[in-house]
């Protein structure tokens, strides 16, 4: 992708600087501090970089329109560098150092797993978009909310598409050896079996392995009718797609959203190899019938364009998710103020928050706010402005 880590850092830095300049004008009222723990650098930072664009836009808009009761929203950013130890240090600084009112992030599961229990200890309201199922637990972490799908929802959508729409019964499930990959593999294989599918091949493979031909050949000889890869590593995913193409093996590939990312595309040997690749995505940011986005999303795209935010090298859902999160926190704060208990009470009753990324609802017993039916599959090679066409069979 064209955006390098350095550029991402610069843009984040510029945003921080802009907030700093804007502050004196409203100095009569203290700003409300919101913590933010993205991975802007490091090996799994492309998600964080995409999300960051939406966040910065939302904060700018909120503050331009008067902030929260005249108080500015100040974002305190700590780059986690995709490193759990840095995330823990960052969480400590946000909660025990600057004492923020709420935290958004981290955006990678490995970091969230460490940070969520820590924030629970300091009673800090938290919103994060990580998928690992155990990351919300209303008993252990009563102040932690997820405004994104769970792994169950993601895998469920993929599995349903393969088994029920494509009617494939023999499936090969494959992942890299990173945490996210192995966790997904372990969760989805039993789900597939429960749906009556036959998992003819499953493996976790070192993403650095340069040659995946043996793996793909073994899937082929096991009689697989679909490949389901789980990894956020574009290099690894592109090798799977390329090898399938080289072997001229005509099976669908369904799985992780990164299958549709610009980086994966850049690593394909031929553009046509991207056909019959169906990544996960989210209905509100997909082109429906006639190639149209929902109205809410069209309006959002216009705002992005007017702020000259680049979408060619990232995914729309990352930006949308980033944009929704501060808006959701701001809406709660406008209603009840920044007190943690009141914020959580408000969030516990949040109903259909109209996000670009999706409608979010929480209850006291359920902090997973994303709707099942909004998780969909799309056609990878329809990528345009960071969004995709729904995969065939959604009848939209």
């Amino acid at each position: 992708m064209a955006l390098t880590r350095r550029q991402a850092l610069k843009s984040a830095g510029a945003a921080v600087a802009a907030a700093g300049i804007a502050r004196p004008a409203v100095a009569q009222k203290n700003p409300i501090l919101v913590g933010y723990l993205p991975a802007l650098t490091g090996p799994s930072s492309s998600t964080g970089v995409g999300i960051n664009r939406g966040i910065q836009l939302a904060i700018e808009e909120i503050n331009k329109s008067g902030g929260i009761d005249g108080r500015q929203l100040e974002l305190i950013t700590r780059d986690t560098q995709s490193d759990p130890t840095k995330a823990v240090n960052g969480a400590a600084e946000l909660t025990r150092g600057v004492k923020v009112s709420a935290v958004f992030g981290p955006v990678n599961s490995g970091e969230s797993l460490a940070v969520v229990p820590l924030l629970a200890r300091t009673n800090t309201p938290q919103v994060h978009p990580c998928w690992v199922d155990t990351l919300t637990d209303v008993k252990k972490y009563p102040m932690c909310f997820r405004n994104a799908p769970t792994n169950q929802q993601i895998g469920g959508a993929s599995n349903r598409y393969v088994v029920e729409v494509l009617k494939k019964k023999k499936v090969a499930v494959i992942s890299d050896t990173a945490g996210y990959g192995t966790a997904s593999l372990n969760a989805y294989v039993p789900m597939l079996k429960q749906m009556g599918a036959d998992v003819v091949y499953q493996a976790s493979i070192d993403a650095a392995n340069p040659d995946l031909k043996p793996e793909i050949l073994r899937m082929q000889s096991a009689g697989a009718e679909a490949i389901m890869p789980w990894s956020v590593n574009a290099g690894f995913l592109s090798r799977i797609i390329n090898t399938r193409g080289q072997l001229a093996w005509d099976v669908p590939i369904c799985g992780q959203t990164t299958l549709g990312s610009g980086q994966t595309k850049a690593l394909l040997e031929k553009p046509e190899y991207w056909a019959k690749v169906y990544p996960n995505n989210f209905r509100p940011v997909c082109y429906g019938a006639g190639g149209k986005l929902p109205d809410r999303t069209v309006a959002f795209l216009d705002r992005l364009k007017s702020h000259k935010i680049d979408m060619g090298d990232t995914l729309l859902w990352w930006i949308a998710l980033g944009y929704d999160s501060p808006n959701m926190i701001a809406q709660a704060m406008k209603a009840v103020g920044p007190e943690p208990e009141k914020l959580v009470d408000y969030m516990n009753q949040l109903k259909d928050f109209p996000g670009v990324y999706g409608d979010i609802s929480f209850t006291k017993d359920k902090h997973d706010g994303y709707r099942d039916d909004q998780v969909v599959m799309v056609e990878a090679n329809s990528l345009k402005d960071g969004a995709f066409n729904l995969a065939p069979g959604y009848g939209a």
Partner: protein, 285 residues
Amino acid sequence: MLLSIVLSGVAIGCVYALIGIAYNVMFSASRVFSFTAGTLGMAGGILGALFILKLGLPVWAGFLLALAGGAILGVVTEILAVRPVLKSLDQHLYVLSTLALALIVQQFAAIEWGTDAQPFPRLLNIERNSFDQQFWLPMVACAVTIVGLEVLYRRTLLGHAFRAIAEDNYAARALGLPERNLRMASYAIAGVIGALSGFAGGQMLLAFFDNATLLTFYGFVPVALGGMGNNRGAVVAGLVLGLFQQAANFLVGGVFSSVAVFAAFILVLLARPEGLAGVALGRRV
């Protein structure tokens, strides 16, 4: 299927062997193993992608510039990380200085080039078949390097000087050989060979900053098993490693294949510290 394993095993084995040779060339000139060997391979891949894909230079120009980049990196290694610590070789400071330089270069690449793997160009616009660029290029590169080094070492005056340095540093200096310049030249050659390996393996390994770590380790295996300074041993051991790795990938798969490779390496070394083809060295008192 078997053909596929053998082909890719041999191809990746050639890349490892070339890194091993880069280690050896540096070692022969200075009695120093340098952690920058894998970094040279990483640089070859990234520079190739940078010049050909990003800057749009012709393939030959990108190739030559990538090798030149490797040579510069080799010379910088010699000046910054090797020459200053040669006086105190027995303190093993070279391990630290070359590790530091390798980290500096790798981190610089991570920040400037990015931490995502990026595509490496196809050199010839021909249809893929089972004997693709990713297979033949490393093999050709390895063969050319071996032949080239043989000719250089056996047939040229410069090569004789290199060998004199490798065999007896002090005697060579006493003979009036320009030891320092020869050492720098050796490091430049090692840089070219390292960059060549990364360039040749670019289609397989992509242009990726973390290849430095991978190649530093896997490239050292041929040196350790083939015997220090023994280029032919390195090639044989490199090919064995490549085939063993692909076979392990195929047979046990997943995470256990890398565990198998590392464990086999450590066990073989413990059994024969001087390598499978090496000779035990006497100690200096």
